[in-house]
């Protein structure tokens, strides 16, 4: 399978008045054609900043991309000029933000906002774009689509607005769709509608999707592979079933253990003690060490890198941890 996007060693920081925030600290991942990559992690772990850095959607300054490469169709996104990126975005790369209102302009009609990229990127005439806009709105399940082109965003409910945003993001048939918590603000029954929709659309169009979420349940049902972020790093990455059935990183284990089960099989929820890291320093040791029950001397001395581990089911499974949680011993020999 060919990869659509390959990101290497991305580092993003914010130089603020009260010091530097090390938001993304060396993130690497790739995504294949037609694949769905789930990105999970707690608030502040760097999920949004990672994806927004790729298209330079972070405010710069204070934001600053300190290193990295992001190869999309042979070109490094991080080397591109702003208007080249603008060309890509909305055409070959679609972006859905958590809050639909950040993607929608409140003073323009929904029809205008869907048609605009179709006309600029695909060179459609007004009539062609209008016809396509109606098709797209129908596709995302908006009733009486032809009558709604003239409506403004505030005339739609939250779930409907997110559908409009999806219609815009899909308009030019992108190769890659980045969806940042697209259902977090929605009710579960509306979330189920949107997930159902995205699944159908992916089957139909075959685009690659990065789906950011802090909900491990949503990702379990959607993703092919999952990356777990903590403290601006990917700490574990594996095929979806492998990750949920055989988590290797203590943080991933803790996170899965802290979730109550809908079938009521949990007894007491597992606490992860302590607080998330504050990101005021570049990590020189394992960022999870202060909260980790398995930490030993190496953890506070060196920051582990993502390495492939042997897994029972075969396939990819990478973890950044010095401790072999199953064998109950250090994963690697200590450096001499």
């Amino acid at each position: 399978m060919q990869s659509v996007l390959e990101v290497n060693n991305l580092r993003t920081r914010f130089r603020t008045q009260d010091g530097t925030v090390y938001a993304v600290n060396g993130v690497s991942f790739s995504i294949d054609e037609g694949e769905m990559l789930g990105v999970v992690g707690e608030s502040g772990s760097g999920k949004s900043v990672t994806m927004m850095s790729l298209l330079k959607l972070i405010p710069m300054p204070p934001g600053e991309i300190a290193s990295g490469q992001a190869i999309f169709e042979g070109n490094d996104l991080l080397d591109m000029k702003p208007d080249e990126l603008r060309q890509l975005r909305g055409h070959h790369i679609g972006f859905i933000f958590q809050d639909p209102m950040t993607s929608l302009n409140p003073v323009l009609t929904v029809g205008h906002q869907i048609m605009e990229p179709l006309r600029t990127h695909l060179g459609m005439t007004k009539q062609e774009a209008a016809a396509r806009a109606i098709e797209l709105l129908e596709l995302v399940g908006i009733p009486m689509a032809d009558q709604r082109l003239k409506d403004y965003p505030h005339q739609f409910s939250g779930g409907m607005r997110q559908r409009v945003v999806i219609a815009i993001a899909l308009g030019c048939n992108p190769k890659l769709l980045i969806a940042d918590e697209p259902t977090t603000a929605l009710d579960v029954t509306i979330q189920a509608q949107i997930i159902d929709l995205i699944k159908r659309l992916q089957k139909e169009f075959g685009m690659a999707i990065v789906w950011i979420s802090h909900d491990l349940g949503v990702v379990a049902g959607l993703a092919d592979r999952v990356a777990v972020m903590y403290g601006g790093l990917i700490v574990e990455k594996a095929d979806v079933r492998e990750l949920y059935s055989n988590p290797q990183h203590p943080y991933t284990r803790g996170l899965l253990g802290s979730l109550p089960r809908l079938d009521g099989t949990d007894d007491k929820l597992v606490n992860i003690k302590g607080q998330p890291p504050n990101l005021r320093q570049e990590p020189t040791s394992c960022p999870f060490a202060p909260r980790c029950d398995f930490a030993f001397d190496r953890c506070t001395a060196e920051n582990p890198l993502l390495e492939q581990v042997n897994n029972k089911g075969g396939g990819m499974h990478e973890v950044a941890c010095w401790w072999d949680i199953d064998a109950e011993k250090p994963r690697y020999d200590q450096k001499s």
Binding site: V188, I190, Q191, G217, Y244, L255, N271
Partner: protein, 327 residues
Amino acid sequence: MKTKEVLVKVDNLKKHFPIYEGVIRRQVGAVKAVDGVSFEIFKGETLGLVGESGCGKSTTGRTLLMLHPPTDGSIQFKGQEITDKTGQEMRSIRPDMQMIFQDPHACLNPRMTVGSIIDEPLREHTNDSYEERLKLVQSLLELVGLNSSHTNRYPHEFSGGQRQRIGIARAIALKPEFIMCDEPIAALDVSIQAQVVNLLEELQEELGLTYLFISHDLSMVRHIADRVAVMYLGKIVELAEKDALYGEPQHPYTQALLSAVPVPDPLKEIDRERVILKGDVPSPANPPSGCRFHTRCPIANDKECVTIDPEWREVRPGHFAACHLID
């Protein structure tokens, strides 16, 4: 089996918010946020209250505590009707009924130290000396897992989970019998949610507390509650022991709601049957005729479902629901 002493009894409770329009602010309608709900909360139990955004969970909780007057209906606390109490009479009942809110930031005064925040209800409702109160405040901080020497710090010096602990310490300061918890963990990170829920469970055991636990997280409610009520558009549509409610949901809305909850297990997700509901929740200012759920219900008929409001009845022992088509 617990002896089932009723602590809170709510009967046909309604809370309508008037809608005004125009320069002379004429009333043109009302948001029927809570529109006739009845339930009991037993002493020592946790009643979960779930439902989608805007269905009236918070309004039910707030009205129950008489934070705003009900439009209609009765609320009994320990056998006493409280809807007709004067402000002065309520003052003596308040210490027994406390609350914890979603946003720990909004309900903690940023200019007050943590010590004085927790001390405030003690100052107001007890005659204890400063020293006695300080000792109590310190022991409360320890009880909720915070450092007792932190009384002089300000809320912004604490994380979200720690601030929620401060809110809990304040809520239990007067040894209440009943706490209404409105989305107490919604603003917290997953790993911190477990800390707070575990704390609430420990305190319940230690102090014999009774909770109304409002949440839209159905998995968490199954974990913490004994019985669960499901709300839709201002009405409770189903109420049962949690295992019965999650295991054998009777109402079509509960069934759809449960099937929509994603579970963190890819093997289970693969062959889960989902009921995908059509459309959006209608406006509570203008609820549908008949059964309020009929516009989205997958099995609605075009007869009584559209014309008659279904009766709230016991469809199985201890299992209540409002739907024409449950036999």
